[in-house]
């Protein structure tokens, strides 16, 4: 009896000990990450919600708690519909043309050619991402300068005999922000798609070749199905990233001319920091958070991310 009782006690202690150890391990290993997540992701959202219910303005003083900012967002702000429409064009334009399609083309072409050349071209397309944003945009400003000294105008005037220099910043600002952001965004898709293409077992291509498949048939029936997961990931990730980033637009067009390139995130910045309407900026930012969450959930559902995350879709040897 005594022996059994002792054994039980020891076992219980052992359980208790392992539970305590698990808790300690949890605190040691996940604690710092949880603290950082709370500090930098949860607290700012809470502060944003709190500020959006105040009249915090240019002198950082709160005189009352109010829902006035939300009334402004929903009723009186006439710029907002235009800003949301433009954001939609910018995000999906950049995604569809560059971040996914062009990234995919780059990945397919650079994996189809010799490895050295492929790596070289991928390296070239990584350059915009590696350049400091200010330097990258300075080069763009020179390229699209409306004078004869601008790179685009030099080429068009000297090689194609154009009479007067083009002013792309005024005549095609939306296209410019899509292209300048797309050149950077394409490289991320390119790297992820390249890695995925390299993970496709080579014998599948050989088998397809034996069956008489051409290049396009191989891409359509082997490469693209294997890239479903990376394409879904890049689409959702880049959508969220494009929704909230505005630094290249601010540097290139300052959101202009007029409000033509003021996307939602830049609009929040202009309201809060250029006009000193911090309470209103916070309310607008909260909507951006909500839009981000909704877009992420729709993407999750649309691409069936849950199923994709369950087991590898590529056979790995």
């Amino acid at each position: 009896m005594t022996t059994i009782a002792d054994e039980l006690t020891i076992e219980r202690r052992g359980h208790a000990g392992s539970a305590a150890r698990r808790r300690t391990n949890f605190v040691i290993f996940l604690g710092p990450a949880i603290v950082l997540t709370i500090l930098f992701f949860v607290v700012p959202v809470i502060i944003d919600i709190a500020v959006s219910f105040t009249d915090l303005s240019r002198s950082l003083r709160i005189s009352e708690f109010t829902t006035e900012q939300y009334e402004k967002v929903l009723r009186t702000d006439r710029r907002l519909s235009q800003v949301i429409g433009l954001t939609f064009i910018y995000v999906f334009g950049t995604l569809a043309i560059f971040n996914v399609t062009f990234g995919l083309i780059l990945a397919i072409t650079t994996t189809a050619i010799r490895n050295v050349s492929g790596s070289f071209f991928r390296g070239v397309w990584l350059l915009p991402r590696m350049s400091p944003s200010v330097l990258y945009i300075l080069l763009w400003l020179w390229a699209v300068s409306p004078t004869e000294a601008g790179l685009v105008n030099q080429v068009l005037m000297q090689a194609f005999g154009l009479d007067a220099p083009l002013d792309l910043l005024t005549s095609a600002p939306v296209a410019l922000i899509i292209i300048s952001n797309g050149f950077i965004g394409a490289s991320m898709g390119m790297i992820i798609f390249t890695a995925a293409i390299r993970g496709i077992p080579e014998h599948l291509f050989h088998a397809a070749a034996v069956d008489g498949a051409g290049t396009f048939a191989k891409i359509r029936f082997i490469t693209l199905p294997a890239l479903r997961w990376p394409i879904s990931f890049v689409t959702i990730y880049q959508t969220l990233s494009l929704l909230v980033s505005f630094e290249y637009i601010l540097l290139l067009t300052k959101g202009g001319p007029f409000y033509d390139t003021t996307v939602y995130a830049l609009y929040v910045y202009r309201r809060a920091f250029e006009s000193g309407q911090y309470g209103y900026g916070a309310a607008l930012a909260l909507f951006l958070i909500v839009i981000g969450v909704v877009v992420a959930l729709i993407g999750w559902r649309f691409f069936d991310m849950e199923r994709l995350l369950q087991r590898p879709r590529i056979e790995v040897h």
Partner: protein, 457 residues
Amino acid sequence: MIHWKIGTAALLCAALAGGSAAFLSATPLLAQETVKLELWSRQDPSGPLRPGNVVKAAERLNKELAAEGSPKRVEVAVRESPAKGFDDDALQLLKVFGIGEGPDIFIAAHEWICAFQEDGFVLKLDDYISKYPQHFGTIFPSLWSSAKCPDGTYAIPQDAEARMFFYNKKLLREAGYDSAFVDAMPERALSGDLTMDEVLEIAKQVVDKTKAQYGVLHRPNKGPDYIMVFQAYGSGFVDPETGKLLLERDKLAAAFGWFERGVKEGVIPANNTAMEFDALRKEFYTGNAAFWMYGIWDLGSVGFPTYGLPQDEKAFFADWGWIAGPAPQKGGSPVSLTHPIVYAIAADTKEPELAARLLGHASAADLNTDHAVTTTHLGIKPEQLEDPRYAKAWPLARATDLLKITKFLPNNSQFGELNGIIYAGIQGIESGRLSAEKAADFVIEEASSTLEDVIVK
């Protein structure tokens, strides 16, 4: 022994004497109290002596305090802000005050002063101004109105200037206008004979008949100069009875219409607001534009030193000149704008009296003339006109003519924000996104939804 004792005594006496001498001489120092006053100033190459004169004034004030037998001495610590313009600087400073880290003294553009007053950040100065007539008594009465808020005076004018339309006489002559016509333009503008639309017409002739690419250029960011056009077309922006912001749709549309016609005629570039400040100046000073809407100090800061415009008065006026903002129609009133920069004292400074006296010394005629002649700004006191250095700086004397018709930006706490909306309207017109009518509607809608107490007519 005796020798040793005498030696010791001598040493002791010497030590005591030396010690007491040192103590006595140190006593006033020990009793002296250094008052540190922090001065907020924007890093601004067009006016380095705005803070510089306050630092120099501390020496004068300290001498005065020593003569009075006061134990206090003033030390000025300059805190420079890297803001791009006075609007950004004011917004930054409002935040700094908001978190309780404000300076004791600050330099600001006059139209922002009531924003500080509204939040209780700035000290009312009427009592100090009347207490120290030796410092403030002779400042031009007209300048004081730029420092006033509804219930009193909250700042001390630091300088003034004149805004105008500079023009390139050579280009006008090349376009076919004779010298008599070109030289008579300033007089015609002042008498109301030259109109805003005639300026566009002349500019068009220049663009059509010479190699110059541009007719009229203006600043590429929010600021005061283009407000001249709105004032010419009758917008004062403040209701005189209530002091609230006033927007009159027809007058706004008329002013925007001038910009619209300018762009349609190919006189104002569609991308004026997208160009860099330096690039615009370069276009004008190197003979690629007929008119440049800006301020007199630009000659001293950029025109003379960077582009080598003739510094001799006669040589300058042979090929260059300026006109007041013309009247909207013949016989109407011309306009010019002055944009004083002001000194102000924080409401919570521990030494308001010393701060006021310090600014009094910084406003001394000789120090202010140093600033005026080195940066081509207008002085604040009549006695400066007698200074030979001031008389020698001919742009100042010539620009003083414009002070007869000059106006200020309104001292309304929300005008800075309204000006941003007006600028966006100009950008909308020039880039072809808005018509003049729609720009007026845009300003009214935007101001009504984001600002408080806006009267719309």
